[in-house]
């Protein structure tokens, strides 16, 4: 029983850790080396290029509520 559990647990670790890391490396391999990681722009600006991520455009004053802001 313990033997089977140890083997099962081991392979679950292998699968989960592979699932955690391999897609990240695949994404790195597929990523254009000139692309940027994240970007944001003022409203009305066209979409970013190269499939990068962009933060949602929101009113910045409402966003400041999430921070310890000083002088905003």
């Amino acid at each position: 029983m313990k033997k089977a559990l140890s083997i099962l647990l081991f392979w679950t670790f292998v699968v989960l850790c592979s699932a955690e890391t391999i897609p990240k490396f695949v994404a790195s391999a597929q990523k254009d080396k000139d692309s940027v990681l994240f970007s944001a722009g003022v409203k009305s600006i066209t979409a970013p290029v190269n499939g990068m991520k962009r933060g949602d455009n929101q009113d910045y004053k409402s966003l400041l509520k999430g921070f310890k802001a000083d002088g905003a």
């Binding site: 850790c17 692309s35 944001a40 970013p48 400041l64």
Partner: protein, 397 residues
């Protein structure tokens, strides 16, 4: 396996890692101007004005933009941001160009809208922000980078006064470093001294480590730390050296004592598993050599990939961030829950079956034995202080 074959294997491993790193260095050569044009499809005709200053044009309106970048030390190495400003001193775009930080931390910070806070704001009316709790180091590097890059444009194009770079650590670095040194010193004291209540003292140290190094400061070292160390990104500056110090001390104490002092006396994640195991009084798992070899191969493969792609954070598959900071992917969340449950049935399941630290310590032991002179083979398993005692006795005799 012969001694010669062992030595070849020992040397081949760092050689493959070095090759991966060289390949990664050759791969990452990119051109900044082209990268800046990728901040938005609206940016075109990027040309360099000065060392870090670029001029571009908006496709939609034809207006001129000034773009610059700046880097600040973050958790895994330098984090580079870019800011685009128009002639009315308004920030139109902000972007993170490069980072070696854990993706989930960055996503959390960007998800909070940290990049949007600055867009539409004039550079002479910049909001002053502190870090986001839970991702303080990454968010501080971003805000400081944007503030510095916006100021760079202000100075160069609008005659604004230069603002000095903010260099103060985002988190209590000195306290963290002192804590780590103290914990390792206490662990060594327990290793070397025959104390009457050693078990209780060890349990106390582990508990202290869980609270401070785990939940309070999150200073555990991971595969990401190992990759940062090998690739040398730490030479360009880190916002926090605590994980690096922890790793270096774990290796030094292993080499000196020939015991896994970190795993046995300090590791907060190991302590949590052990604590859960105490509830049921369970024993360790059934281990087979093939498990250990698969685990070692996995560590090697991840190191090679992370060094090649120059992404230390991608190498991290330990669930530490999820367990202590509640940040990480769904897979890490599942892994953490699995380990917690399994700890009630099997003693320290992660440590015994798949923790990469075990593979790293195995390599160090293997390397030491492969290169140990034959005459000292009988003492190669003794702790260093015991070896010195043996030599002193012989000399005295």
């Amino acid at each position: 396996m012969s001694d010669f074959a062992k030595r070849i294997v020992v040397l081949l491993i760092p050689a493959t890692l070095a090759l991966a790193w060289v390949g990664g260095e050759m791969r990452k050569q990119g051109e900044m101007g082209r990268r800046l044009s990728h901040i938005s499809a609206d940016i075109t005709q990027v040309r360099q004005l000065d060392q870090d200053l670029y001029q571009a044009r908006r496709k939609s309106t034809g207006d001129t933009l000034f773009i610059t970048s700046d880097s600040y030390p973050s958790y895994g190495g330098p984090l580079t941001v870019a800011t685009a400003v128009d002639k009315q001193k308004t920030i139109l775009y902000t972007a993170i160009l490069e980072s070696t930080d854990t993706r989930s931390y960055l996503e959390k910070v960007v998800g909070f809208g940290i990049l949007n806070v600055y867009t539409g704001v004039r550079i002479d009316q910049m909001p002053k922000l502190d870090g986001i709790s839970g991702a303080t180091i990454s968010s501080t590097a971003i805000t400081r980078g944007i503030e510095a890059s916006a100021n760079k444009i202000g100075v160069a194009e609008f005659g604004m006064p230069a603002i000095g770079k903010e260099d103060a650590a985002a988190t209590p670095e000195t306290a963290k470093l002192l804590l780590i040194v103290f914990v390792f010193a206490a662990a060594l004291f327990l290793v070397y001294k025959d104390l009457p209540r050693k078990k209780q003292l060890r349990a106390g140290l582990l508990l202290f480590s869980v609270v401070t190094m785990g939940f309070l400061f999150g200073t555990l070292f991971s595969m990401s730390t190992v990759v940062s160390f090998i690739s040398g990104t730490w030479l360009e500056g880190l916002a926090s050296y605590s994980a690096m110090l922890c790793m270096v001390l774990a290796i030094v104490t292993f080499l000196v004592t020939r015991k896994k002092v970190y795993c046995t006396y300090i590791c907060p994640f190991g302590a949590v598993q052990e604590g859960l195991g105490k509830i049921t009084g369970c024993k360790g798992p059934e281990k087979y050599p093939w498990m250990e070899w698969i685990s070692r191969f996995f560590v090697w493969a991840i190191l090679v990939a992370a060094l090649y792609f120059q992404t230390p954070s991608d190498a991290m598959y330990e669930p530490f961030s999820k367990a202590f900071n509640f940040i990480g992917s769904g897979i890490l969340y599942g892994l953490t829950i699995l380990i917690v449950i399994a700890s009630l049935v099997i003693k320290r399941p992660w440590c015994n079956l798949f923790c990469p630290a075990s593979s790293i310590f195995f390599y160090l032991r293997f390397a030491r034995k492969a290169f140990a002179p034959k005459s000292t083979a009988d003492i190669s398993n003794l702790p260093l202080h015991a070896v010195f005692n043996e030599k002193s006795k012989k000399e005295a005799g």
